[in-house]
């Protein structure tokens, strides 16, 4: 039914192992070629791990699905070399407006601080994201994608898992040192290991209608017309959809996402039919605005988390590990950060350079982030979809007050948009022993900053990446005089010096400002571009201790 996009069909290839009846053992098998599985495959492959990626289908996401991508995931994709086409194609936005009936009661601006390479947020259909990632994975010599390869059974030994996979040529077995399950909220793999996936279910049903419009929509009755700048518009109880909420987002190719709350009693099958959907859209946009229906989906959601992110040799990432409501764009965005967190740890453990405890720090750090996302997501859902008459009254009281009273506006919650959760309590951090101001506490993802590198304008995060090449590594970001050494090693773990003032120039002074740096300040930065430790002077013994800690060698 898509008018603006034609779905690629990726070729099924029978593996030599299946054809020859060989039992092959892989260091890493990734289940599921969605945004998370593809990102993790790319990250692991770039770090040097051969990846067998299996997907039960042979195309990209059907429908636009996850459409909002935030700055931090874009920075991660930039590290993986795939962000540029996504940012070029995506729709940048930063203003959100909230309406009660047809009156605007609140406006927010994601206000991207200047001096960052990546925008605050882009909207892009999930199929474009997946296609870009598939192209990068197919081009990578260490990634072998098995389309139409469905995992049907899994058993575990001490140091590997045995997988039964069904293909168009029948079933065969393979072994994997590690399995990463990125097979989504309804993960079969999760059931195969017997994991619990519990949380809160929400009874409300929602209708997504993607429509193709050649002109910006002018909501009937609303009186306000979207300008040329794309914005996120959210209505509570609008005249065109009484008693419910509506969310509007612009995607690329003139596709607009309209998300209608339907309530608890809606019939999901009936609501999907065009004869039901089209009148809803006409009520909103007016009867005369021409549009084409691109994709329709009726959904319910839950906010829930897996009990353990690792079962033996099987690790869960993305929606298979945590499921949130769509309000706040926290699903795919947090999943990409799972991939970012896990790949470097898996590489060091596979190499024998770090103990298994480093993998378990993935659970420690990402379960902490998942819980933060679940909290935010549940709070937004409770505001949008109140569960009792009294909570509905509080919600409406806030909205009515907000039109004239500034104090009520921060209470409006139409979804708090995804921002990274710093790992402030992580056991991998070395706590500060000296005074530092600002946000770059140990456990925080590195803020980007404009720099000059090799006499060219550049970005800190890109320079961190090029210092190591795709395999990645630890960095010592040193301000002031260049240290006497090029690197500090703790066994096989090496941290390389990046001297600010020598290797890179702090062109606008933003780097020193964002890192509260003085001459002598040293930051130890992890391979996933998070702060592990920081000091006011270069001390090789302290750096080695922090490297041990950051790789779980306590």
């Amino acid at each position: 039914m898509s008018k603006s996009y034609s779905y690629p069909e990726f070729p099924y290839r029978q593996s030599a192992a299946q054809r020859e009846g060989r039992l092959e053992r892989h260091p890493l098998v990734v289940i599921g070629a969605g945004p998370i599985g593809l990102s993790i495959a790319l990250d692991c492959a770039q770090r040097g791990i051969p990846v067998r990626l299996l997907d039960d289908n042979n195309t990209v996401s059907f429908g636009s699905r996850a459409v909002c991508y935030a700055k931090r995931p874009l920075e991660i994709w930039d590290r993986l070399g795939v962000a540029a086409p996504l940012v070029d194609k995506g729709v940048r936005w930063q203003v959100g407006k909230v309406f009660l009936e047809d009156e605007q009661v609140y406006q927010f601006d994601l206000l991207p601080e200047s001096g960052h390479k990546m925008p605050a947020m882009i909207n892009l259909q999930q199929y474009y994201v997946e296609q870009t990632l598939v192209d990068a994975c197919e081009a990578h010599p260490k990634i072998d994608i098995g389309w139409k390869h469905k995992l049907v059974a899994l058993s575990q030994q001490d140091d590997h898992a045995r997988l039964t996979v069904e293909t168009p040529d029948g079933r065969y077995h393979l072994l994997a040192d590690w399995v990463i399950a990125c097979d989504g909220a309804n993960s079969d793999t999760r059931q195969m290991v017997g994991a619990q996936f519990t949380g809160q279910f929400f009874e409300d049903r929602f209708l997504i209608a993607d429509v193709v419009l050649k002109a910006p929509p002018q909501p009937a009755h609303g009186g306000q017309r979207l300008g040329t700048e794309p914005e996120r518009w959210f209505w509570f109880d609008p005249p065109f959809h009484r008693g419910q909420s509506v969310l509007l987002h612009k995607q690329c190719d003139d596709v607009w996402r309209i998300d209608f709350q339907l309530g608890r009693d809606a019939d999901p099958e009936a609501e999907k039919r065009p004869e039901r959907v089209i009148p809803r859209i006409q009520a909103m946009l007016g009867p005369d605005l021409p549009f084409e229906l691109e994709w329709v989906s009726v959904y319910q959601f839950a906010c829930r988390r897996i009990d353990n992110f690792r079962y033996g040799r099987v690790i869960f990432a993305g929606d298979s590990a945590h499921q949130v409501s769509p309000f706040g764009a926290r699903g795919a965005n947090t999943g990409i950060q799972d991939a970012d967190n896990l790949a470097w740890k898996l590489k060091l453990v596979l190499d024998g350079s770090a103990p298994l405890a480093l993998i378990d720090s993935y659970q420690e750090e990402r379960a902490f982030a998942a819980d933060d996302n679940l909290l935010n997501s549940t709070r937004a859902t409770d505001f949008i979809s109140p569960k009792s008459p009294v909570s509905l009254r509080y919600r409406n009281a806030v909205l009515e007050l907000a039109a004239t009273e500034a104090f009520a506006r921060p209470l409006i919650n139409s979804g708090r948009l995804s921002t990274p959760t710093p790992y402030l309590q992580s056991s991998l951090n070395t706590p500060d022993a000296e005074a530092f101001a600002g946000r770059m506490k140990p456990g925080t993802h590195c803020a980007d900053a404009p720099v000059r590198h090799q006499d060219q304008p550049a970005w800190l995060l890109n320079v961190l990446n090029t210092l190591h090449g795709p395999a990645g590594g630890f960095t010592l970001l040193c301000f002031g005089d260049r240290p006497a050494v090029e690197s500090v090693a703790e066994g096989p773990i090496v941290a390389r010096v990046l001297s600010v003032g020598d290797d890179v120039q702090d062109a606008e002074g933003l780097l020193a400002q964002r890192y509260d740096a003085q001459p002598g300040t040293v930051y130890l930065i992890r391979p996933d571009q998070h702060v592990a430790a920081r000091w006011r002077r270069f001390d090789a013994a302290a750096i080695r201790a922090a490297l041990r800690r950051a790789t779980a060698q306590h």
């Binding site: 409406n396 009281a397 007050l401 009273e405 104090f407 209470l411």
Partner: protein, 67 residues
């Protein structure tokens, strides 16, 4: 500063009458909305999170004690 649980309103009878009168001529739904808004307005004025938590807990406990 903890929640003030001692008398603090100068003219209690006058305040109480004003509170009740504020609902005159309103439907039940409007009166309930007024009360809800009053909670939000006063909560914002107090602002102090710990005091608000103490007040919420007191109102809940006192309600539960009365069945």
């Amino acid at each position: 500063m903890p929640l003030n649980r001692q008398p603090n309103i100068a003219d209690p009878d006058d305040f109480y009458r004003e509170l009740i009168d504020s609902q005159r001529g309103l439907s039940d739904a409007q009166a309930e909305m007024l009360t809800t808004k009053l909670v939000l307005i006063l909560a914002n004025h107090v602002g102090e999170r710990a005091v608000l938590s103490e007040a919420i807990a007191l109102a809940r406990d006192n309600t539960l004690q009365h069945g």
